[in-house]
């Protein structure tokens, strides 16, 4: 039989059993739509995580103190990890030491009670330098950030996060108001634009004070001498690894550590954070896609089941076609075309349902859904392949039917 006639016979058979074909197609359709949507959700979540991480600031390297082992082999207990100092941060800020680092923002923070008039609010007080806003990629909603001069002068000024400001001053503008921390009166000179939360940290609930002020007047003990984090901004994404190396070398030298494995600090880049987050995401996506894949498999078994029913039901027709001169290859091909057409229709339906899902889903949950044209094309090919694979057995059974037995059956 010619291919054109084979396709025509296949489609006529599908149309001839409208409801049955529709249900079979539905099985494949749901599977394909599920795969497309879970993969799309995964990709959407990945891009959300990536944008959240890049919101931390661009080309950022984060230096944090690590747990240390002392010179006598005694492992440090609590507080031993406060190994980073303002001096470290200042050294990294030098163009000569770290040419790839364009800005450094050390951060020392403790939780303190802020008082303004009759209201008070407990929040984290962050001591940092003038480059904090740039390095952390934060904007000011009102007022300005403290300057290099204000830092070197250890001025009694503060910049508040939007949550902190509204808790202390309500709807009033906090600019030029004063807050009292540990008996020190600070003048509010700016309010940060809201940035939401990163992980469990509320980025809008904090007070940023020049680090000199925190060290000299606000903090006591190790908090007064060490910093908890040093944020370093590299000049470009390609300079990131160079900056990493420079920071690592400088800090190892400054801390007199000969073996890099004994370093008392950790340098993390956004890329490592992003890749960790993405690998978690990918695992979840793979899991969901696996479950969706199982539903696709069930759809495929549905096709096989229907094709077997179709072969059994059409035994007489097969016998007749054979008697009229259809060779086994033609019979097999006809059923394969029928099965793969069911797969194709299911695939197209699944892609349409998936596209509909991308319109509806974002209204039901916060994550965006991204569908790539490649995934769509692959889904349709997979659907046809499923029809073909699960059609082989029924088609072979049809082709092997003896025309005599087939014609004799009722």
């Amino acid at each position: 039989m010619r291919w054109r006639d084979t396709f025509r016979s296949g489609f006529e058979a599908i149309l001839g059993h409208g409801l049955r074909s529709l249900l079979t197609i539905l099985g494949i359709m749901i599977g394909i739509a599920a795969v497309i949507l879970t993969v799309g959700l995964g990709q959407g979540a990945q891009s959300t995580v990536n944008s959240a991480i890049s919101a931390l600031g661009s080309n950022l390297l984060v230096v944090t103190p690590g747990s240390t082992t002392g010179s006598g082999g005694v492992r440090g207990g609590f507080g031993s990890a406060s190994t980073l100092t303002l001096a470290d941060a200042n050294a990294l800020g030098s163009k000569r030491v770290a040419p790839n680092v364009i800005a450094v923002a050390p951060q020392a923070e403790t939780v303190e009670v802020l008082t303004a008039g009759s209201s008070n609010w407990t929040t984290s007080v962050v001591g940092s330098t003038a480059s904090w806003a740039e390095v952390r990629d934060r904007q000011l909603q009102e007022g300005g950030f403290f300057t290099r001069q204000q830092v070197s002068g250890a001025d009694d000024v503060a910049v508040l996060g939007s949550t902190t400001a509204s808790e202390l001053f309500g709807a009033k503008s906090p600019i030029d108001q004063t807050v009292t921390v540990n008996g020190v009166v600070l003048t509010v000179i700016g309010e940060l634009t809201s940035a939401g939360s990163s992980g469990s940290t509320n980025l809008d609930d904090m007070a940023i004070v020049p680090i000199t002020t925190t060290q000299q007047q606000l903090f006591t003990g190790t908090f007064a001498t060490s910093v908890s984090t040093i944020y370093c901004e590299a000049n470009s994404s390609s300079g990131l690894s160079g900056a990493y190396q420079e920071i690592d070398d400088e800090l190892l030298a400054a801390h007199h550590i000969a073996q890099p494995s004994e370093a008392d600090f950790t340098i993390t880049s956004q890329t490592t954070i992003a890749s960790t987050a993405n690998s978690v995401n990918r695992t979840l996506t793979d899991l969901l896609a696996g479950i969706a894949g199982i539903s696709l498999l069930v759809g495929g078994i549905g096709v096989m089941n229907i094709m077997l029913v179709s072969v059994t039901e059409r035994v007489r027709e097969i016998g007749l076609r054979k008697a009229l001169g259809a060779p086994p290859t033609d019979i097999r091909r006809q059923f394969l075309v029928e099965a793969s057409s069911l797969g194709l229709l299911g695939g197209i339906g699944g892609v349409l349902a998936g596209l509909l899902g991308t319109v509806i889903l974002p209204h039901l949950q916060s994550n965006p859904v991204t569908i790539s044209p490649l995934a769509t094309a692959v889904a349709i090919v997979v659907a046809i392949a499923i029809g073909l694979v699960f059609g082989v057995y029924p088609a072979t059974r049809a082709a092997r039917l003896s025309p005599i037995d087939a014609l004799r059956s009722e």
């Binding site: 039989m1 010619r2 006639d5 007489r316 054979k322 259809a326 086994p328 005599i404 014609l407």
Partner: protein, 278 residues
Amino acid sequence: MAAGSADSVAVDLAVDDMSEPTGRVPRVEGGEPTGRIPRVDVDGDPTLAVRSPVIDMKHLWKTYRPGSLAVHALRGVTLNVDRGEFVAVMGPSGSGKSTLMHIMGCLDIPTSGTYELSGEDVSEMSENSLAHIRNREIGFVFQQYNLLPRLTAWRNVELPLMYARVPAPERRRRALASLQQVGLAERVDHRPTELSGGQQQRVALARALVTNPALLLADEPTGNLDTASALEILGLLQDLHRSGRTVVLITHEPDVAAVAGRVLRIRDGQIDSEEVAA
């Protein structure tokens, strides 16, 4: 009913100079296990050399082994059907009639013996070659009509041409011509359910004719029809025979067999007797 076969009888009588006054011609050699039927040497007939047989079966055996026991459906059947002959095969159920028809129609192959169809040995052919032979050389008419219910009359008729890979326009042309030949030119776009039993069987006949086969093989073609429709179909078969077609009719009804020029009776897997219509 038998009037139409007069000319074929004349031919048969002219050829069969061994025919007895009773019309019973035991010319078939079939008694290998029992030796019940007297052996007649057909090859000795000088006229057979010039005639081209459509069917030439020699010593056909068909043995089924459903279990450990062998069942002989055919026990050495030898028979010839010449071009343009109208032959009826009669026999009760279980006689081997169906098996003979299956082998004759190339739906099955014999266990032993040779079968030449239009001069081609088909007794050991592969399934694919048999399909090709069926498509080209044989037109089937079944008791159940076996039309595809979803297809219109002409699309049912074009089916064998599809397997012969004939282009679509020619298929339609030939299907319509074939339907006209059986008097259904007005019903080409009707589905089988919209046609009477007789009309359905005529569509089946048109389908059998459309490939212009060497042999028209009709298996109980009137079994499901009322008398009037049955007469119609038998008339058509006679017309086709008169126009030169070779027809083999398988039936258990003597009335039906009577339209044929020659009647073969089969019993216990052997040709029991042969009779030329008066």
